[in-house]
Symmetry: C2
Subunit: 562 residues, 2 copies
């Protein structure tokens, strides 16, 4: 990310000042009503989403807003390509984004207010358009976002036009989100924006949400809705934990039996068309889709549709009929994996595949006489972590041969598998994750932090604060090591989550992680975050995301006549 | 409840045998597939709602099912008034219930399957109708359910007709729910029911759900949806915590300023028409609506629309501009309350009103010189609990004068207010609630238990088991005292709950409380409950309640082609 920011900073010729300092000095205090003698002064008497300056989420790296307001006329206001932009009206990605953000800004109240009152009745000058300028020679309209993509942007809102500059379309998407957050509707139904200047870029390049479609199947619509919410929070990685022990909903082209037998039902699957749709929907929002096919553990559902893939377990010299992890001693296993990952590498365009490797239970391997024989032959002694590493290295080699990068859970590193230099290690064990980050980056591997952000663990109250307080770089290590932490992920494992509760359980709790991964390190004021998060949650609700409330109160739009 | 049961048992001439013994011996074991060597044998490989005998919730007091199956033809099957019933086709309550339960049983797949295959293709004999017989001279079609209503019923399902007998319509509603739970759809789309006999009645007469519409406004639709869910779980009391500090959404006829000024917004209110609708919707499902108007604390929102109602707080001899609890020393307070509760008594038909009385903060009263003077005059010394009791007793007298019974939170009892003999004390403090139940019933007051069932406190995993394990009668006391525990309530306070997350947060967790309050004391098998609860949750989902999953897996209907 350092690179991307430097580049755009240079291109835009800006001096970057931490947002938190500038914005605080300019932000109006929110109006307060009297509070009772009971608990602390209560924010609940305010409708959330009432104060526009307090509604940016995640907070940009640098911003300056002026009290001077401009008015937008929904019937006239336009999102357009600016002069000098390398993007043309043929850029589907931007055209789609223009339409989308126009709707977010004005759509909800179009029927209600348009034309009711002439714009001239107000004193404010008008903002007539937002010009979007892509500066790179190739804007990237048809490309996929990747780890090195630039998401930086520079936004100026002044009369009569606002200008959004970005090196690539990915930065423009982030800037459009920010611009839409600046526009607010006053009590009279006028759309206003304060004159502002924003320079922004992400702190971390990898900002992910993990959804688990194996413990419960998630309908396509739930996934798409959450991609919308991710874009509202500037997340850029959808980590799709697509299969696991419980079910195999991924419909394979080469091995259709995997989902025929391994899915919960023949209808609870993701067809190739579904997968393409998810990938394209995500791409249009600047989101990478990284699929996880976790082996050799967590594979019970694979075994149903692929004979001899799993290890037969033994008891007292006899097979029990049960199966353990993937059988690592058979050539047929690797033949299967070679073909399977060839398909996965071609279906998923991202440069990375997540290969899992967590929580391998050795007991079945230990019980199997052929596996024991193999261990002896290989000289592994009784160290089954070596067998695990042997398997994983074979898989890593297979996937590398398709020119894909790899992400693995931390055990693979812990068990000393020989990893390719750029393999990303995802740290998930809550116990001493700082130490683990230190080890992983100390060994020169890029790391992604998930441990403190397991959002399936719920508790009473405002637990978003717990997620918000995490400082990812608080681990022992050199500057070089810190640079190897490429980001983090909020994980919503699916044991207790399906379409009924996914969205309110994930949002706005994941928003706390979103700001931690995007905004400057010194954006840590909980009171300020609380105010902005409430507004942000109301905005998500207005945009169709059933994000749960942060605390007591209501959203201004809920109080308006429908 | 003892009375109602004895009456119906007598009328029906039945010997009552605990359900858990009979049903277990007859229930088929669920089929199992092989499980991995990892954690315990996994129920997740089964689709929930696949096995009909395992789908009753709450478990009836006595049931016998036979393996013999009868088939229902949706195009012919009828719910009708049986011979000898005092109810006639003009009984709107039953007609509405017939229509509703017909839809629950067949509606979801009507378009899909009807007429596709002639019924004759199957070997099973047909069940042609369910005859409902109300035995009381007055069936109660136009009445309201009350604490003494009979909810007992007797159901026989044999070829060619099923017969549901109940003394009152309330029992018929419960029996219709049970009958609808027996009917299941097989893989071929046939509707089947096992020949069965069920005798059932509630263990406790008061089985409530508390919803809080002050911390967050709940749209009417959310409330109605949850009344549906309550009926599916045989709950019979909607405890409507309608106003509190944060907002006053109840639109009063006499005092419209209360919601004009005290609601979050002029649109976030319950109009008289809304309230009537909720009451009627609940009545049609055999659910009482008990409104709570909590005073003298928790009243900040009241003060906005009613001048001089709250106590002005002082600091250093000067009013601070803040206000405390209701001012208990002014005649105008009691004039207001007299008129206000006259309205409430007439708007809400239930024989009880909940008057709150919890968590009164004395600090403002202590600061106010006029209150101090009043204390002296009354000889209360510095015991502000006496002032609280003085106020509450006045309110109790007012409400009594309208012939309404009263429910209060436990502090009112703890602070030794002089209560009318039939005042119901609701026990909510989690700390030693058994001891409190003992004291309350020892003093001769009926009690309602809420303490172990605060469902707003969430935690990871299957916390329904915690609610399920509670045995309400596990408190020290005589048989007479035990009889005074009239029931319990699952409470979903609204600090972190609104329409976005209410339903999945409440259901099926509250179902655990529902069974505890309805079924026999010895229905405590967690494994059996788990299996039934999963099926019940799937049924709720099918009926439009977004109940969250109990654990990993899926519902059979989710796997069917839409």
């Amino acid at each position: 990310m350092g690179r991307a920011m430097g580049l755009v900073g240079l291109l835009l010729g800006l001096v970057l000042v931490p947002a938190v300092l500038v914005s605080t000095s300019l932000r109006h205090g929110a109006p307060r009503t009297e509070a009772g003698p009971g608990p602390a002064p209560a924010d609940w008497e305010l409708a959330a989403d009432a104060v526009s300056e307090d509604s940016l989420w995640p907070l940009p790296q640098w911003l300056r807003t002026s009290p001077r307001q401009l008015q937008l006329a929904p019937g006239r206001f336009q999102l357009v390509h600016g002069a000098g932009s390398s993007a043309r009206p043929g850029c589907g990605l931007l055209q789609d984004a223009f339409r989308r953000y126009y709707e977010y800004m004005f759509g909800h109240s179009r029927r209600r207010r348009w034309g009711r009152r002439p714009l001239a009745a107000r004193a404010e000058p008008e903002l007539s358009e937002l010009q979007v300028v892509i500066e790179a020679p190739d804007p990237g309209c048809d490309s996929f976002p990747h780890l090195g993509s630039s998401e930086a942007y520079h936004l100026t809102v002044t009369e009569p036009v606002a200008i959004l500059k970005a090196y690539e379309v990915w930065g423009a998407l982030r800037g459009l989100e920010t611009f839409s957050q600046l526009v607010h509707e006053d009590d009279y139904g006028s759309f206003l924006v304060n004159e502002s200047e924003i320079n922004d870029f992400p702190r971390f390049a990898h900002r992910g949400i993990l959804l688990d479609t194996s413990r419960h199947y998630l309908p396509l619509k739930s996934i798409l809705t959450n991609l919308d919410a991710m874009a509202f929070n500037k997340f850029n990685v959808f980590h799709w934990h697509i299969v696991d022990d419980q079910s195999f909903p991924y419909q394979s082209i080469y091995f259709p039996e995997l989902s025929d037998k391994g899915a919960y039902s023949c209808n609870l699957i993701y067809t190739p068309a579904d997968v393409r749709l998810v990938i394209e929907y995500a791409r249009l929002r600047g989101i990478r889709v990284i699929p996880e096919f976790d082996t050799p553990g967590h594979t019970q559902s694979w075994g149903k549709g692929q004979k001899d893939l799993l290890t037969p377990c033994y008891d007292g010299g006899q097979p029990t009929g049960s199966f353990g992890p993937v059988n690592p001693i058979l050539n047929t296993t690797y033949d299967f994996m070679t073909k399977f990952f060839k398909e996965i590498s071609s279906v998923f365009p991202d440069a990375y595949i997540h290969l899992g490797g967590d929580e391998v239970d050795f007991s079945c391997w230990k019980s199997n006489p052929e596996v024991k024989e193999f261990m002896k032959k290989q000289g592994f002694g009784s160290d089954y972590a070596k067998l695990e590493s042997y398997y994983i290295q074979n898989i890593l080699d297979i996937v590398s041969s398709y020119n894909k990068g790899q992400i693995i859970w931390q055990e693979v590193f812990d068990h000393k598998a020989q990893l390719k230099p750029d393999t990303v290690v995802q740290v998930w064990m809550a116990n001493s994750y700082a130490h683990e980050l230190s080890s992983v980056t100390g060994a020169g591997f890029p790391a992604v932090l998930a441990a403190p952000w397991y959002l399936d663990y719920i508790s009473y109250g405002q637990d978003w604060k717990k997620y918000y307080r995490v400082e990812p770089l608080d681990f022992p290590g050199s500057e070089e090591q810190k640079k190897l932490l490429i980001g983090g992920e909020a994980c919503l494992w699916g044991e207790f989550v399906d379409a009924t509760n996914l969205t309110p359980r994930l949002w706005p709790r994941a928003s706390a992680v979103g700001e931690r991964l995007w905004s400057s390190r010194n954006v840590t004021d909980l009171q300020d975050a609380y105010r902005r998060l409430r507004n942000h949650r109301c905005r998500m609700l207005r945009r169709g995301i059933a994000a749960e409330p942060v605390f007591v109160g209501y959203c201004a739009h809920e109080g308006r006549r429908p």
